[in-house]
């Protein structure tokens, strides 16, 4: 009898990239639900626009590169990029900005480097950062959580995201519907020489749900992140290091200056903290390789985010923190190669 002679090993566990990506999408469900409940169904529009654009951009890029598009479209990685970007955007963002950001994320963030596995930067954060520096006004118009029923109606949403951006009459609407996020309000308040207790006492900053609703979004992201940890799709090193890098300096600064520095709890539950710690910084392609390297990488992201939140020009700093640490990955990898069994300590 004759047999085929494939090389060992002859059995594999059967993990697959599409399965990993699907699990990540599943873990994003809680944060998406919290987002929709607090900020209205605008997220669904953003998700739809981002996913369609991402798939189109991926297909076009693969065609330009002369590759077979079908397996790459099915692996789900581009949908993860699209969903992470959509979750980072305000639900009221004009649709064409969402489409632009997603297309740039896929093309400039991923395919110019050679596609999946080759990109040095987190693609979603490339798209986000380009939008933030190019369209700061649109990018920071967040709806007031639970406060304005109109932002929860589909017709109003459609008018704002698909048509309402144009024309003078819409300006008044925008002002009515949107407001600064908690981090933004705190930054402005501190700049105007208010003290923290004064700012945090205001309803429009913290609100009844803490950090203007973002506390709940962060807790939902934390729940999804814990699911990823439990399924071992993400290992603990990066999330723990990101949170430590952010919260340790926050604790120290708050202890030294309670009137001028946010507490660790506020930092942990405001802005993009949990989404960044568990879903964005953990993108393995653009993260450091070894466990030790991932601790340095995560701590760097947390620390940079704290620095940007405290002294930088933007209210939240995770996108830039992640991109900066992406730059440092080759350096980190070079100095954190684990000791090989049997080599000198």
């Amino acid at each position: 009898m004759r047999f085929d002679t494939s090389p060992a090993p002859h059995v594999i566990a059967g993990y697959s990239v599409p399965r990993v990506m699907f699990q990540v999408l599943l873990a994003l469900v809680p944060v998406a639900i919290a987002h929709i409940v607090l900020l209205g169904p605008g997220l669904l529009l953003q998700l739809a626009v981002a996913c369609v654009t991402a798939l189109l951009a991926e297909a076009i890029a693969l065609r330009w590169r002369g590759r077979d598009a079908a397996p790459a479209l099915k692996d789900g990685s581009v949908l993860v990029t699209a969903c992470l970007l959509a979750l980072s955007l305000t639900p009221l963002l004009p649709w064409w900005l969402t489409a632009l950001g997603t297309a740039l994320a896929v093309l400039l963030g991923k395919h110019v480097f050679g596609g999946l596995g080759q990109n040095p930067f987190n693609p979603a954060m490339v798209g986000y950062a380009i939008l933030l520096v190019s369209f700061p006004l649109e990018m920071t118009r967040w709806p007031v959580p639970l406060d304005v029923p109109d932002t929860h109606s589909w017709t109003e949403l459609a008018r704002m995201t698909f048509a309402g951006f144009y024309g003078a009459a819409s300006d008044a609407r925008w002002d009515a519907y949107t407001g600064a996020t908690a981090l933004d309000a705190i930054r402005t308040g501190l700049d105007l020489r208010y003290t923290l207790p004064e700012i945090l006492g205001r309803d429009d900053v913290m609100g009844p749900l803490g950090a203007r609703g973002f506390a709940w979004i962060n807790l939902a992201a934390l729940a999804g992140g814990l699911y990823l940890l439990a399924r071992r799709l993400v290992r603990w090193h990066i999330p723990v290091a990101v949170l430590a890098g952010l919260l340790v300096p926050a604790c120290i600064a708050h202890a030294l200056d309670p009137g001028g520095s946010l507490s660790a709890t506020t930092h942990a539950l405001a802005g993009a903290t949990m989404l960044a710690a568990f879903f964005i910084a953990t993108d393995p392609v653009s993260a450091a390789t070894s466990d030790r390297g991932r601790l340095w990488y995560g701590a760097g992201i947390g620390l940079l985010a704290w620095i940007i939140r405290t002294w930088g020009g933007y209210p939240d700093g995770f996108a830039f923190a992640v991109l900066l640490m992406n730059l440092a990955v080759p350096f980190i990898d070079r100095y954190t190669v684990p000791r090989i069994h049997g080599r000198p300590r």
């Binding site: 009898m1 594999i12 697959s16 999946l116 069994h341």
Partner: protein, 517 residues
């Protein structure tokens, strides 16, 4: 001793070791012919010392070890040599020089009875030579000549003989069966091997999923009343039974990268090798047979078989009830590191611990898998028992960056296959590293060859220069004599030949004609 710090994890794989068929060990009627590979599994074949038509007795030498990496090969049945040829074999190369013997004796025979060697009268070197003559090679799977491994202990302070009964690879249970049926042989063989390498202590290591073997070895140790013999139970985690990983798991000592276990004071041998050595010590029988597991979803009745070396694998499958279902792959060894063979017309090798007949159910889902790009998830690094970064190695292997491959430890890879096992992109990492090692060895060999050629060229240049100088000296000497003779002549004839002396002086600087540098 170094402290036990980071011990790479490995994985507790599904063992597929069903206790209900480990025993009894089936004995085959003698095969009608045997195909004896002269390569023990190291790639170094023994020199054949028989030719077609020779009649050989059972136990006669048919291949003689020609290097430290080969071992003597003996006729495992009495018969006539019908071929000495290169053919498919269960060795890493896939092909090796084989001696094929057709049986002429009866179907069953008694154990070979020869005068037993007086082991206690031999010193370590003599004992090693005797084991070399008896054809011993590691029965655990690598087939490394036993004597060479013992010889490496010379001049180093070896304190411990580690007997490997871990048998960590899924599906395989031949060592389990052996320890249950011949635990006393293991202990006796351990004594001989200890004597041959100078170790004072001996540890038998068994994985905790083999309670029957543990009980058998425990009582054998008690019967032996030897305080230097101990049992170590290690967790059933693949690949804890790999030599370097087992040494660390049992003693906490790491074998230096690029070094040998003897550098850590340890000699590691398989329990089956020890039992075979005991049989040799008892009645002089060289290595003629072994226990092999015949298993997989593709055989009707999985079992352990005691068979003469060289038995065609097809006959072993028949002993296990024959093929069933759709056998897709015939593997010599287990499903993680075994070698897929092209045909079942291959002889049982010294290192063949398992014949694994795999159907689609055993192989799924690799058969139709699509290779995705590496997403650097690092799962491979998480499970690597050598502490490597397979994802970085893979990048270096694709780019064929030789320096990076060495730095990242491509030669520290023990080829366990776990990185492939966990890879979500289903990249054949272990195979790519195997190919990379092959390329690196080729480059090294080419570099050595170039260096040898350069040295040869330098030596030749020096020789030519020396020869030229020698010729020059000879010429000078002759010329000196001639001038002296001329001087005497001119002294008698007057100054008539002054012109000739001047011409001779002109030649001196250019050396003898015909010699160029």
């Amino acid at each position: 001793m170094a402290a036990r710090t980071r011990f790479p994890a490995g994985i507790a794989l599904e063992s597929h070791k069903r206790a209900d068929w480990v025993l009894p060990v089936r004995h085959l009627p003698l095969p009608s012919r045997v195909m004896l590979s002269l390569d023990p599994g190291t790639g170094a074949a023994a020199e054949p010392v028989v030719s077609v038509g020779d009649v050989v007795a059972r136990g006669a030498v048919v291949g003689r070890a020609s290097s430290p990496f080969s071992a003597n090969v003996h006729a495992s049945i009495a018969g006539t040599v019908i071929a000495v040829e290169e053919r498919e074999s269960a060795t890493p190369g896939g092909v090796s020089l084989c001696v094929i013997i057709a049986r002429t004796e009866a179907e069953t025979v008694a154990p070979l009875q020869r005068p037993a060697p007086d082991v206690s009268a031999l010193d370590a070197a003599q004992l090693q030579q005797a084991l070399r003559d008896a054809g011993f090679a590691g029965l655990g799977g690598a087939g490394f000549p036993t004597a060479t491994k013992l010889d490496a202990a010379r001049g180093r302070s070896v304190h411990t003989l580690l007997l490997n009964g871990a048998e960590c690879e899924p599906w395989i249970s031949c060592d389990d069966a052996l320890m249950q049926t011949a635990a006393d042989d293991v202990i006796v063989g351990a004594g001989v091997l200890r004597h041959a390498c100078g170790a004072t202590a001996c540890i038998v290591a068994i994985e905790d999923d083999k309670p029957a073997a543990i009980a058998a070895v425990t009582s054998a140790i008690e019967r032996a009343r030897d305080p230097a013999m101990t049992l170590a139970i290690v967790p059933a985690v693949y690949p804890r039974g790999a030599e370097r990983q087992l040494i660390t798991a049992v003693t906490g000592v790491e074998t230096p990268s690029g070094g040998l276990p003897v550098d850590a004071g340890i000699v590691c041998q398989n329990v089956a090798t020890a039992a075979a050595v005991a049989r040799w010590a008892r009645h002089g029988e060289p290595l003629l047979s072994r226990i092999v597991t015949v298993t997989g979803s593709g055989v009707a009745s999985p079992c352990n078989v005691h068979a003469p070396l060289g038995t065609p694998l097809a006959e072993l499958v028949t002993a296990a009830g024959g093929y069933q279902g759709t056998p897709l792959r015939l593997i010599a060894g287990g499903n993680m590191t075994g070698l897929a063979l092209p045909s079942d017309e291959v002889g049982l090798g010294k290192a063949t611990n398992c014949v694994f007949v795999a159907t689609g159910a055993d192989l799924a889902p690799r058969l139709d898998a699509f290779e995705h790009p590496c997403i650097r998830c690092g799962d491979c690094a998480d499970v690597c028992p050598a502490g490597l970064l397979p994802q970085q190695l893979h990048r270096a292997a694709l780019a064929d960056e030789h320096g990076t491959l060495r730095d990242l430890g491509v030669f520290d890879c023990i080829d366990c296959g776990l990185c492939d096992y966990v890879c979500p992109s289903q990249i054949p990492l272990a195979h790519r590293f195997r190919l990379a090692r092959g390329r690196l060895r080729e480059t090294d060999a080419a570099a050595r060859k170039a260096e040898a050629a350069r040295e040869r060229h330098e030596l030749r240049k020096r020789r030519l220069r020396d020869e030229a100088a020698e010729q020059q000296r000879a010429f000078e000497a002759v010329r000196g004599q001639a001038l002296a003779a001329d001087g005497r002549a001119s002294a008698t004839r007057g100054d008539a030949d002054n012109d000739t002396a001047g011409k001779a002086g002109g030649i001196t600087g250019s050396g003898p004609p015909g010699v160029t540098h």
